[in-house]
Structure formats: structure tokens, C-alpha cells
């Protein structure tokens, strides 16, 4: 196995046999998660499960064999985001015939809970033990309690790696950022890197003040591809213009022009909030300063603005690092590595990477699995009946 991180280059690559052996546990666990413990009876569901299983494990195999993290992660991550949108919208069409949330849904508290709301609920939760969101506590799709549990587990295991491996929206701006080969806008004023923290502070405070999740109500660009409040008043019409504009600007246009995840890195308050969980997480990206030649490729290439001149001096990525592995893959001297906090930098980079990849990849596959299978079923239905709607 190549161990460029310790500046020791060997001509040995990982063998296929060893890769297969390392992939076997992942195959077992992904099958368990994708099938939820039982093999479906319907043939089309078996096909969907099989395709998803093979797709996911091929990605993992290639990730290990080719020793490239980000390239293969991105394929699954972007597929996940697209499938999530298709599956979510199709489900809404089946249930209520529209992407718009009706006033009735809001009154009956049937809105699915999204992780981006979490930072806005913290102050009211701490002071009044109530969640300021019209959702269901338990027992429904994306219930509040289940999303909180998922968030806690992901934060402990991955920190802000959630943004690189779990967020069902992140794949959208990640995908758009890879369309062009080179960025057209090469420089963004570094002061804008602080904007997500300002958005976090402003939305957390205004949400606590108004007892309403203000980011969701006014700003969230992802309502464009999931669900939004029925336009029945001028205020809602203005809110609609705002979130559609933010989607086009931050999720589509700016990622294309800058080749960065601008929504995630320059605006998302959840991403800013999640950065603090990097402090308690065991994984980090470190720089072997003996091997580093200060070419600044990592600074250019980091999609989340987590590599700066200061990080090169400090020898580690900023606490906003999403652990996507892009810098590690692209460093010409292999000076960047996944690392486990508390251990020596001269330890095995390959081991550190594996220790991270197992939980990260399992999290990604489990989150993505049901959406990918559902999308495959809908595509099969589209081909056979001309409609994506299952019921």
C-alpha cells in the first residue's frame, strides 16, 4: 500500500484480495442496513435492493483499491442527493398531489423534521423544553426525535463529516461544483467564510425571539426541491422568491463558477453549528509539514473553505472541515492525511483512513439506501407504465 503521508513511497498498491477482505464487513453491514433485516418479496424490490447493494459496495471497493476517497464518495453522495429529491417529491405527489405544504399540514404538525432546523431549536429547547417546529415527535417519517438521535450519533462519530457524508442536500451543490474543470471565480474574500456563523447567530437569536424557525421560514434554499408553504399571502410570496433565488445563487450558480460548495461553506447555519462537533470527534485532517511543499493546492481545492494559509502553518484543517478527503486525494506530495486525534502522526495513514471510512461510508449508505432503492423502483415504474407515482 502506498504510504505517501510518511514520505515513504513504495511501489506496492493494495492487492485485490486484501481489498475484497476489507470490503467484506462493509458488504455484510450494508446488506443488513439496506434490507432492514429481511429480503423483500416483490421482484422489483429485490432488483432495487441488489442494484443499490452492488453500486454501494463497488464504490467502497474502488475507494479502497484506488486509494481515492473523494472521487468515489462524490459519486454516491451526489446520487444520494438526486435520489432524495426524486423520492421526496414523488412521495409528496402521492400523498397530497403537490409539493406545497398546506396550512392543514402545518396545523396538524405533519411536517418532516430536517436537521438544518436543529441549531434554531436549541435555545427554546433549553429554556422551555419545547421544539419550535410543526412536526411529529415520534412515529412518523423524519420525526423530530429520530432526526435528533441520528444527528447525535453522526456528531459523535463523524463531527462535521456529516456534511460530507450524510447531508441529503449537500450532494446538490457538491454535484454542481464539479461541472466545470476549472473555477471561473478563483478568489472569494475570506471574510465571507464567517457568514455561516453569522447566519447561525442571527437565526438562532431570531428563532428564540419569535419562537419560529426563521431560517426555514425565510431563507432555506432547499425548499425549492422539497416542500414549501402554499403561497396564499404576499409575505409567503416574498419568502418564496427569497428561497428560490438563494437556491439558484448558492446551490447552482456559485458552485459552478467557484467549484466550491458555497451553500454549505458560505451560508448554511447547520454547517457552522456542526463545526463545533469537530472538537469532540476523534477524526481530523492533518498536514505532514515535512512533506508539505506549500503549493497551496489544498487551499484551492477544498470545497468547504477549510484550508487556509494559517492551516498550513498549524498543520491541520480548520474546524469547519467536512472530511470529504478531496485535499488528501489531490496533494501532490501526499502530505495530507486522515488522522486520529491523540495518536502519533507517524502512525499508519492507511489505518487512520480506514478507521474513518468504515463509519462514514456506512452512514452514507444507510442514509442513501432507501432513497436510491425508491428511485430505482420509480424509474422501473416509469419505464413500464409511464408514471413515477407508485400508488
Amino acid at each position: 500500500m502506498t504510504n505517501k503521508a510518511n514520505n515513504v513511497e513504495s511501489s506496492e498498491h493494495i492487492s485485490i484480495t486484501k481489498t475484497l477482505l476489507l470490503t467484506l464487513p462493509m458488504m455484510f453491514f450494508t446488506f443488513m442496513m439496506l434490507s432492514a433485516g429481511k429480503i423483500p418479496a416483490e421482484p422489483n424490490k429485490i432488483i432495487a435492493l441488489t442494484i443499490t447493494f452492488i453500486f454501494a459496495n463497488t464504490i467502497f471497493f474502488l475507494m479502497l483499491y484506488k486509494e481515492k476517497t473523494d472521487k468515489y464518495r462524490a459519486i454516491l453522495f451526489i446520487t444520494y442527493a438526486i435520489c432524495f429529491v426524486i423520492s421526496f417529491i414523488s412521495n409528496l405527489m402521492e400523498i397530497r398531489g403537490s409539493m406545497a405544504i398546506s396550512q392543514e399540514n402545518l396545523l396538524l404538525c405533519k411536517t418532516p423534521f430536517c436537521h438544518i432546523v436543529i441549531p434554531m431549536t436549541i435555545i427554546p429547547l433549553a429554556l422551555s423544553k419545547t421544539i419550535i417546529f410543526p412536526g411529529t415527535m415520534v412515529g412518523a417519517f423524519a420525526s423530530i426525535a429520530s432526526m435528533l438521535v441520528l444527528w447525535i450519533g453522526a456528531s459523535l462519530a463523524l463531527g462535521r463529516g456529516f456534511c460530507g457524508w450524510g447531508c441529503f442536500f449537500g450532494g446538490l451543490d457538491d454535484g454542481f461544483s464539479r461541472i466545470f474543470k476549472r473555477p471561473i471565480i478563483k478568489h472569494i474574500n475570506p471574510k465571507w467564510h464567517y457568514l455561516p456563523f453569522a447566519v447561525l447567530l442571527a437565526t438562532a437569536l431570531t428563532s428564540a425571539m419569535l419562537l419560529n424557525p426563521t431560517y426555514c421560514e425565510w431563507l432555506c434554499p432547499y425548499k425549492t426541491v422539497t416542500e414549501y408553504v402554499e403561497v396564499t399571502t404576499t409575505k409567503i410570496f416574498i419568502q418564496t422568491i427569497i428561497f428560490v433565488s438563494l437556491f439558484l445563487a448558492l446551490v447552482v450558480i456559485l458552485p459552478i463558477l467557484t467549484k466550491k460548495r458555497t451553500q454549505c461553506g458560505l451560508f448554511c447555519p447547520f454547517g457552522a453549528f456542526q463545526s463545533f462537533t469537530n472538537k469532540i470527534n476523534p477524526f481530523e485532517i492533518r498536514i505532514n509539514q515535512e512533506a508539505c511543499i506549500k503549493c497551496k493546492r489544498c487551499i484551492q481545492i477544498c470545497p468547504a473553505f477549510s484550508m487556509t494559509e494559517e492551516t498550513l502553518k498549524d498543520g491541520k484543517a480548520r474546524f469547519t472541515c467536512i472530511k470529504c478527503g478531496k485535499c488528501v486525494d489531490n496533494c501532490p506530495k501526499g502530505a495530507l492525511l486522515f488522522h486520529v486525534k491523540g495518536t502519533s502522526l507517524t502512525g499508519s495513514a492507511a489505518t487512520f483512513r480506514l478507521l474513518f471510512l468504515y463509519p462514514a461510508f456506512l452512514f452514507l449508505v444507510t442514509m442513501a439506501g432507501s432513497n436510491i432503492q425508491d428511485t430505482i423502483l420509480r424509474i422501473m415504474r416509469l419505464i413500464t407504465t409511464g408514471s413515477m407515482i407508485l400508488r
Binding site: 464567517y194 456563523f197 453569522a198 447567530l201 442571527a202 437569536l205 431570531t206 428564540a208 425571539m209 426563521t214
Partner: protein, 211 residues
């Protein structure tokens, strides 16, 4: 609560601007934590006194101007809109605002030598009189509430919000991470300015409806 949150959103900026004024005077003498806590407490008392004076002024403006002229919602709506726009510009651009502390440097020396115990209180009062857009918005907010008690309470909560960030000042290094906190605080204040812009529009619409 609105006053508290407005103060909280502005607190980081207050700390960033005021610290270069009071740190050299107060913490440069190498005092222990207990003495520094006493200094900070007196400093904050001076700030509170300044804010409460403005609470009274805000009530006075309401009584003398708004209740006499009428068109309350129109005037407050316009004030909110103008101030929120200036708040947004103040937050995202490098704009200098009037801070009394910079203009009374000479007097500080006289007070420090004649009444040393009062010195932190006077510094606090001077740094509190910072006519920045968030402070002007706080005045507008307090004018809008109407009664003297509510106006004083509003400024007390505004004071609490801004002061939260001063509390750990004697214990932690003042310079580390300041630049970043200052930028975040200013941007957050600008974003909250958008909320006040919206409030101003609502006031204006209601004011026009009531003409």
C-alpha cells in the same frame, strides 16, 4: 426579550470596539482576577447607567414627539427602515461610528488621578455612548414600546445582551480570535437588520392604512 436579543447580536461588536479602549486602562496594571472582576463590574455599572439614561430619553421622545405629532406608526416605520438599512451597511462595510470614549481621552487622565474608584464607571459610561446603528435601532425599539418602565426595561435587557460577552473578559485572553468574532458579530447584526427592515415595512403599511 427583543432588547436582550438585539443586545446579544450586537455584543460581540461592542466587545470588539470597546475592548481596545478599556483594556489598556484597566487590565494593563497586572491585577488579579478578583480585582479585575471588580473593575469590570464597575465598568458595566457605568454602561448600564448610560443605557438607562437613553431609556429615559427614548420615553421622552415618545411623549414629546410621537404623541404630539401623531402618525406614530409612520414615523417608527420610517425610522426602522432607515436604521435597518444603515445597520446592514454598517455590518458589511468598514464604517466608523461615533464612540464617546475616543473623544474624552484627556478627561480620563484627570478622573483617574482625582477619583480612581469612579474611573471604571466613567469608562463604562463613555463606551456605552456609542451611536452605532444597533444602538439607534434599540432607541427606536424603546420609543415604540411607549411606557417609561417598558423603555427602561428594554434598555436594561439590551444592556444584558451586550454585557454577556464582557463577563469572561478578565479571565480569557482578549486578543485571541477577536477579529473573527468581530466579523461574525457585525454580519449577524446586519442580518438582524433585515428583520428590522421587515418590521419597518409592516409598521409603515399599518401607518398608511390608518391615515
Amino acid at each position: 426579550m427583543q432588547g436582550f436579543f438585539l443586545g446579544l447580536s450586537n455584543g460581540l461588536v461592542c466587545l470588539a470596539y470597546c475592548a481596545p479602549v478599556f483594556v489598556p486602562y484597566m487590565l494593563g496594571e497586572g491585577n488579579g482576577i478578583v480585582r479585575n472582576i471588580s473593575l469590570i463590574a464597575r465598568f458595566l455599572a457605568g454602561r448600564l447607567f448610560g443605557y438607562l439614561i437613553f431609556g429615559i430619553i427614548a420615553w421622552g421622545i415618545n411623549k414629546a414627539v410621537l404623541e404630539t405629532l401623531g402618525y406614530r406608526e409612520l414615523i417608527i416605520g420610517n425610522a426602522y427602515i432607515v436604521l435597518s438599512i444603515s445597520l446592514i451597511f454598517y455590518s458589511f462595510l468598514n464604517v466608523k461610528t461615533f464612540c464617546a470614549a475616543e473623544y474624552v481621552d484627556g478627561y480620563f487622565y484627570k478622573i483617574k488621578s482625582s477619583w480612581p474608584a469612579l474611573f471604571p464607571v466613567v469608562i463604562g459610561l463613555a463606551t456605552g455612548l456609542n451611536f452605532c446603528p444597533p444602538f439607534l435601532l434599540a432607541i427606536t425599539n424603546a420609543v415604540a414600546v411607549g411606557s417609561l418602565l417598558q423603555s427602561l426595561f428594554f434598555f436594561f435587557m439590551f444592556f444584558l445582551g451586550t454585557s454577556l460577552f464582557f463577563i469572561p473578559a478578565p479571565l480569557i485572553s482578549m486578543l485571541r480570535g477577536f477579529a473573527a468574532l468581530s466579523i461574525i458579530g457585525k454580519m449577524a447584526t446586519g442580518l438582524i437588520g433585515l428583520y428590522y427592515f421587515y418590521v419597518g415595512i409592516i409598521f409603515l403599511i399599518n401607518g398608511i392604512k390608518n391615515i
